[in-house]
Subunit: 372 residues, 3 copies
Amino acid sequence: MFDSLPFSWLNPTCDRLKFGIESCRHVTTMKSLYGRDLITTQDWSVEELERTLDLSFEFKANRYDHPLNNCLDRRTFFMFFYNPSVRTRQSFEAAATELGGHAQFLEPKTMRLKSGKSAGETVEDAAQVMSRYAVGIGIRILETAIEHYGQGDELLRQYADNASVPIVSMAHDRFHPCQGLADVMGYRQHAGTNLKGKKILQVWGKGALVRSWCSVQESILINSRLGMDVTLAYPPGYDLDPEVIKWCEENAETADSTFEIVHDLEDGYKNADIVYSRNWMTAGFYEDMVKRGIDEAKKNEIEIAAKYDDWITTKDWMSKTNNAFFTHCGPVDRNAEVTDEVCDGSRSIVYDVAENRLHVQKAIMALTMGKQ
Amino acid sequence: MFDSLPFSWLNPTCDRLKFGIESCRHVTTMKSLYGRDLITTQDWSVEELERTLDLSFEFKANRYDHPLNNCLDRRTFFMFFYNPSVRTRQSFEAAATELGGHAQFLEPKTMRLKSGKSAGETVEDAAQVMSRYAVGIGIRILETAIEHYGQGDELLRQYADNASVPIVSMAHDRFHPCQGLADVMGYRQHAGTNLKGKKILQVWGKGALVRSWCSVQESILINSRLGMDVTLAYPPGYDLDPEVIKWCEENAETADSTFEIVHDLEDGYKNADIVYSRNWMTAGFYEDMVKRGIDEAKKNEIEIAAKYDDWITTKDWMSKTNNAFFTHCGPVDRNAEVTDEVCDGSRSIVYDVAENRLHVQKAIMALTMGKQ
Amino acid sequence: MFDSLPFSWLNPTCDRLKFGIESCRHVTTMKSLYGRDLITTQDWSVEELERTLDLSFEFKANRYDHPLNNCLDRRTFFMFFYNPSVRTRQSFEAAATELGGHAQFLEPKTMRLKSGKSAGETVEDAAQVMSRYAVGIGIRILETAIEHYGQGDELLRQYADNASVPIVSMAHDRFHPCQGLADVMGYRQHAGTNLKGKKILQVWGKGALVRSWCSVQESILINSRLGMDVTLAYPPGYDLDPEVIKWCEENAETADSTFEIVHDLEDGYKNADIVYSRNWMTAGFYEDMVKRGIDEAKKNEIEIAAKYDDWITTKDWMSKTNNAFFTHCGPVDRNAEVTDEVCDGSRSIVYDVAENRLHVQKAIMALTMGKQ
């Protein structure tokens, strides 16, 4: 949308100090976020991400009485769920409600949108018309609704090109920016506001859920961007998007931190300050799905994953870390990605991270589409 | 519901002047709209339609701060979707939100309503109980949810007879009053507030969507009613409801304007000020659907429609008009009903008309069910 | 949740007097209801039920301007529908709206919750995370979503054990507390505020709907609890939950009233002050459903029920009563459970009882989860 509106969120003072956050060095130079899309945190500047995190902490501290808590007053936010979700729907709809607005729950399968197979409305027309009714549009589109990796991201960018209101990813095949911001917020709550030099282990976990790359890719992007030392660990065959990996390397270089990929669990857990385990699919899944159908492709993925019995976060593995916090984007696949013992242990921050989805989404809405 | 409540919308002054609308001659004599159903614009007086259009323009000019913008405060509006819809759901739900209320999205397939085939709640009971919870009820019911033309209209009138709150059509087999009002609002924005003597061409368009008669019938009714010269153009076999045609003829006579039916495109486009193309089904569709099933019936309709290759609004056809505006009720079936060139051209008003759905629906809600 | 919070709903004065309700004897000694679950009225004290009924009457008398009408301001209530419903969804969603909040309509079939057959989120995790987003959670789960009687109740209690916000039954296999409270409110409106010694006939009705025990069991529990003389009448084979029957007997003893079971309609209707007819399934239904599938099990139930032709509330049967009021929890299966003549007669209170669902649910929400 509008990339160069004057900065309008009144006098962003050093409220980060108030919530224990290090510094405000970038705040005064950033552009307003009003009208901006959020498809991945990589599209926003570090300053913009920090501003969003600041406001998220404010909303957490002052859930129902923050001065911006009326900023969606009577406004509509559309949630487009090409794929279903528990937490994303709940937290976005609650976020709009807490800001005085309303989020409409829309499932394109019940709507006459044009597809390869049927006549209907084009994305161009839908985006233009929806922009007349709503102040913003969230879109969720994952593997089972698309035919090749990247198609979901293309769709979001096509909406963004045609809508005159912000498009926000509610998780798509490539990215999950709200999760990435909620993760960071959780680390700052627990591991300290200065995460520079802290080691986060992003580790593949076994399981039968054949999960998307989006949360993992967003995690390694934002954490390398914000200066953490990121170790990505997975068994052979689970390579992620090469472009995302390249960005992570660049992010680490810019932030003067490290980004490394390992295939050995010992190397991964050693000295980690935060452990984030999560299952994801192989790079071959999409092609397989198109070729053999989704059921066969999933079956195949589950068989491949079943070989890697060690790839579960246990108390033993956690004992090799620097007394690390355990995190997960949820929903947790217990006793596959992580044992109950670790997930329910005193170092687990999974519920706090889940709660943060609400706060960051309120901040994103307030900054990009709240009334000015 | 209540047909003779005292007029209560405070002092309707000549605000039409403020928004460039011609005169207020009827305002002081009309009945209050509070408690009234809206099943077709034909059921309301011209004065009542003008009052609604006036308020629609006010809401457009003052979207979030109009004095009536709290008139659904904490009130519930039920939306009953026997058939799904994009824009109708989005615009009605947004309208209720903008007035401080909430529209519930209900799909009777997920509810235990009595049908010919199963036990369940009667319309009488459902209407009475819903009247206890909500201030109004919208209903959408189209071809695929009914067995013969007119059955949807009967259902709405049955709800209206049993509910003690207003029933509003959100499009049914016969009529689509909100679309008709949104259309007129668009013409006044672009073609001038005085539409008397302007020629509107309502033209059948080819395509594979087998569309309902409702938007087209509402259009020719309200436009003949409000004094436009209406030309209805379609290929043989696409006759509409004879009773609606009779009403259009009577409307034109009363308004001292013209209503004509042509089967020749040259005649249709010549000197038109507004062109509104739209596909619709043949009169035989319902019988065919009951006899052969919906898939066969649709296939048959698509085959019939495919013969009329010329029936698409092109730049060439538009060049025969009086530099006409192009309109459509949406969603547009591009390159079937109209070419991209015309639909995206400078004379296209399709997005403005789509936006107007929001404003007219707010006005209808405010006037018929807003707090007094 | 919290069982012993200090009483915080400001100075509950004898407002029962204002609305014609007998006495306030218990009010000052009860615990606050804030944070409490409501799975059956049997879990709450009589004083707590009275407090809830008092506030329900207040909300009825002052629907949009009650001082507590902002108590869910910007708050979210989750409605979990494992089974669909008309009135429960409409009335809960309207209740939250009228209190300034928003009820999210969630259907677990569209969500990734763990089941016996598939990986996914556990109830423990779902309950904990949802507690971060919402101020309360309603759950509806009936026969077709479970495998044995009692499983729905177990699920609600499992949610209650893991959530830090109140769990409210929106009808489950065993109980339907909101219906029970709405029933009592209706009796007080019509049969007088002092129901001590009034006879209520709870009578099985024929029909093809194979209905749950929940409304009936809640009715006999709350009515025996609050001192009515309860007669439960049904044909052989329609025994209800033995534990519920035992509680009813204890309730009657404590309240110094009577509870009896009869299988003869003459005995049942004789001198009744209130007649409540309702179909319910045999005790064998669940086993049959698991063994033969739901369609066969339903067919079998319908065949069994069809033998009892007399079990319909007619004008003749009503003539044996003490000019009784007729009530039903809705939706009414007309001319099976009751004739049109009785249901539409001057002594029928079915629509008022239906309306009361809204008021009692507002009261429950205000007291258990409203802002303090």
